[in-house]
């Protein structure tokens, strides 16, 4: 069984925002809601690094743990989704999430997407796969179509990789070997107290 993961290779990310607009495009995400964004550290300084961030689809997801109405669920592929019919838009998941993934659109008059919104790993929601209702509330379900998240598929430099964790790791490992060094993903230096 697959365990879907994202990985952003900080040596490759150029902060072009292709992932951000790919997501906007694929799901018609409204202005002000950012399921994915690119974060730049040390902007304009030597050592500047960018990474693309969205819901990381945690195995033991804090959002899921704290949700008072238990609207989250994890698919067989390890994708964390939620049910907007249950969501009450309280924002507790926003407290819990280490990545700032949950988004709260302002115009509740616009129906289902007025509830909490976040990256679905392009896997839709609890409605029938590929139904108009699913598209309306969660955007397109690429996983059901046999494709991977569009943000990663369209990444300008192939910095953002998505798919089964093992395969993502293989791709990244090959790259690290080619570069002839240690992994340079964001956070490595902190984890191993380098630099």
């Amino acid at each position: 069984m697959a365990r879907m993961k994202f990985l952003c290779d900080a040596e490759r990310c150029i902060e072009c925002n292709g992932c951000v607009t790919a997501c906007k495009n694929e799901h018609e995400v409204p202005w002000g809601v950012n399921r994915r964004r690119v974060v730049t550290l040390g902007d304009g300084e030597p050592g500047e690094k960018s990474i693309s961030v969205a819901c990381m689809h945690c195995t033991d997801a804090p959002c899921q743990a704290v949700c008072p109405v238990d609207c989250f669920y994890t698919t067989d592929d390890g994708i964390v989704l939620h049910d907007k019919n249950l969501c009450i838009g309280c924002g507790y998941c926003f407290y819990a999430c280490p990545f700032g993934a949950p988004q709260y659109p302002q115009q509740s008059s616009f129906g289902a997407r007025g509830k909490m919104d976040k990256c679905t790993f392009c896997a839709g929601g609890p409605e029938d796969d590929l139904s108009d209702a699913e598209y309306e509330r969660y955007g397109r379900n690429r996983i059901a179509e046999g494709a991977l998240p569009l943000c990663a598929e369209m990444c300008a430099t192939k910095a953002l990789i998505a798919g089964d964790g093992d395969e993502v790791a293989d791709i990244y490992r090959e790259r690290v070997l080619q570069r002839g060094g240690r992994p340079q993903t964001w956070g490595w230096e902190t984890a191993y107290q380098e630099g």
Binding site: E11, I14, E15, C16, N17, G18, C19, V20, T21, A22, K24, N25, E26, E28, V29, P30, W31, G32, V33, N34, R37, V39, T40, L41, D43, G44, E45, P46, E48, K49, S50, V53, P98, G100, A101, Q103, Y104, P105, Q106, Q107, S109, F110, G111, L130, S131, D132, Y135, E136, R140, A147, L150, E153, M154, A156, T157, K158, R175, Q178, R179, G180
Partner: protein
Amino acid sequence: MKLTKKQNDQGAKAPRGLLGASVNRRSFLKSSGITGGGAALAFAGGPSMLTKAHATTAGPKAGVETKVIRSVCTHCSVGCGVMAEVQDGVWTGQEPDFKSPINLGAHCAKGASVREHGHGERRLKYPMKLVGGKWTKVSWDTAIGEIGDQMLKIREESSPDSVYWLGSAKFNNEQAYLFRKFAALWGTNNVDHQARICHSTTVAGVANTWGYGAMTNSYNDMQNSKAMFFIGSNAAEAHPVAMQHILKAKESGSKLIVCDPRFTRTAAHADQFIQMRPGTDVPLIWGMMWHIFENGWEDKEFINQRVYGMDEIRTEVAKWDPAETERVTGIPEAGVKQAAQTLAENRPGTVVWCMGGTQHTIGNNNTRSYCILQLALGNMGVSGGGTNIFRGHDNVQGATDMCVLSHSLPGYFGLSGGAWKHWSSVWDLDVDWVTARFDPEAYETIKDKPVPTMNRPGMPVSRWIDGVLEDPDNIAQKDNIRAMVLWGHAPNSQTRGPEMKKAMEKLDLLVVIDPYPTHSAVLPDRQEGMYLLPACTQFETSGSVTASNRSLQWRDKVIEPLFESLPDHTIMSKFAKKFGIHDELFKNIEVNGEEPLIEDITREFNKGMWTIGYTGQSPERIKEHMANRHTFDTTTLQAVGGPLDGEYYGLPWPCWGTADMKHPGTPNLYDTSKAVAEGGLNFRARFGVERDGVNLLAEGSYSVGAEIEDGYPEFTADILKQMGWWDELTAEEKVLAEGKNWKTDRSGGIQRVAIKHGCAPFGNAKARAVVWTFPDPVPIHREPLYTARYDLVADYPTYEDRKSHYRLPTRYGSIQATDYSGDYPLIHTSGRLVEYEGGGDESRSNPWLAELQQDMFVEINPADANDVGIQDEQQVWLEGPEGGKIKVKAMVTSRVARGVVFTPFHFGGHYQGEDLLDKYPEGAAPYVRGESDNTTMTYGYDSVTQMQESKCSLCKITAA
């Protein structure tokens, strides 16, 4: 329902939650979204309301048949494949084009958002006419009728030269070619497009060095580079998908050096970053060459065989010792030497440049110095080497090749009598009829001979405002420009905003033809005499497009033109009918209803573009390449097996001979390691065979398989006869080839036979390091007109003023005579952001992009900010020395050096502190508007091409 700006806050809160108080450019801008997004909401009910509408109308529907149509991104010159999913004529989805060997599915922010073209909420929807200061809807027929009548009257009263046809790099090749032909048949050379203000100094400088003025290799080929030297190019923002190949090279050990006044997003990935003072490219390159010569790192064999004039360069370079280089550029010896040594020790290396190098009064000197660096290192004509000049717009290479330019006919034939004869014969028109369309008078004398307007360059786009405002006694044509057609052009990409406003107000007639109203619609204060005509985008029509690497790709039509918009070639056909030149313009081109058949236009230029080998790319061949694009290698771009085995993707020009000859295209220019028939070449024999007793032809160097194993001149009918090869022509070929040369033989026979014997049709010569026909034969440094280092003017002065250059007086010394650096102490430079393109009217009207950059801003160093007492995010006035000023947000960052400020040039819709929202046609204002930085950019034009100076001016900044 009351809508507020609150939704923008989400963008700012989340990253702060993640990363504490870290502020970057995005969060800085998102947190400031009040004015941008807020105004858009107040105006049209808000993007989220629109988005809801999309969700129910434009998203994919279950159970509806989906067609997949292939196109090419319309933003930059990389040429990324686009896969459009269309249901019932609606563009409902966009998939990555993994099969494209150019982008392998990848997109940047702009490419990943092109489906928004199918929404087109903020498009110009109908033809509009300004009546009493208000935009009023009119029919196409009324608009064409009224505009046409006024133009014909102006033509009668003032001459055809008083109507200016400003075209576009947004045209596909067919439209670009047709537009140049259309202007010729109208009877003027006052036709131009953005290439003038983009890479004109590259084309002139590079073509005059070794033959052709284009990118020599390809984005993909950079994977073979051992070193990559970027100067004045910020690929991570301007050509993001190119970075895929660049970073792949870097991961394979290639060294990346970035020279730029800013620490750009590209510099963030560099092994070495060189932060030079703007406008000191020549000193920096000569400073590096000083080390190369000093250490004997130059490629002596290459220079002896293939370069003319390197000794004169050596003399100039000797002046640029480490001390002088540092004095002028600000870069200490260690950095300069390190860069030189890296290039010397890592060959082949490539040099990449963009607007940072070209947009200067000495732009042609800059581009030639880069070429000379590569010649010295022997990096030309090899895979992994070359000068990889990244072009800007998606089809600026093609529109340049089709010569939507005031100084040439398609294929760089120029404007000589021979050029007109050649094209008239391709057009199947009597050259005397074409001549009679022009003003027969001569306003300029060349070598004591009066030359009529037909054979003299028209005014360049950079100077059209002077064509309107200058005293008519000072200009080399009958009268001022009285009618201006801005056909796919953003006026905010041009300098001297206040004077442009004045020019727009003085015109009798101003016509804007564009998918969007553009900054032109709102800049002038006019009551009438102005029209907006809706053109459709390239996703609403079909045709070929040339990427920066000279590969041609074909776009299929994704959707029908939205609203009442029309394809550009249909609009040309409407005007042609009105002007009575329709039969001549389309003599051999089928017209269906009002729409000319695109493929027939391709076939027509195939018949005439012999100079640069746009002759072998028939529509059928290009389409076959698109269909089989997965068979091409993603590094070499060569097809491996399959129906196109051995051909190069998109048949990069020169693709010699006729389509029947099946030339595979030329992947890397001047590469002697391949036979010409297989895409090899050598430098072009363009400048004669001898100069002052020195041989200009190559010596002992020739492409593989050449039967002439040395240099040789360009091929003519006579040379074929001398070589005894004449009888290899067929009887039909002989008829057309008699008395002709490789450029004008319409049979293609001369090219075919030359290539059969392994020879390049254009001869085999040396590149020239010294361009004796230019104002500075050896590239030298000259300080900018507005320089912060006035102390250097005595040593490095600019040119003297010129009386007539491209029909206009052009100032140099009279401006530099005044020292402005006291009152305007900061150097002002400009550039791109990844989310927007060009003047930005299209991309700022796309909500997915607009949301990411909501405010015009100026980057200023913390020290300078503190000196004038301003803080981050504060509104400031930025004022230039010619009086233009803009009110923008300060972004305090050490990305720029002390003394230098940077602004992006994509904004428009504000003017000197005022939002011009009310002046747009209803529902057609871009979501994000802002000050155009070119309101403050100043006078200054290249001495060869009239390129505008927009990379170093001066300014002062004060709190607003």
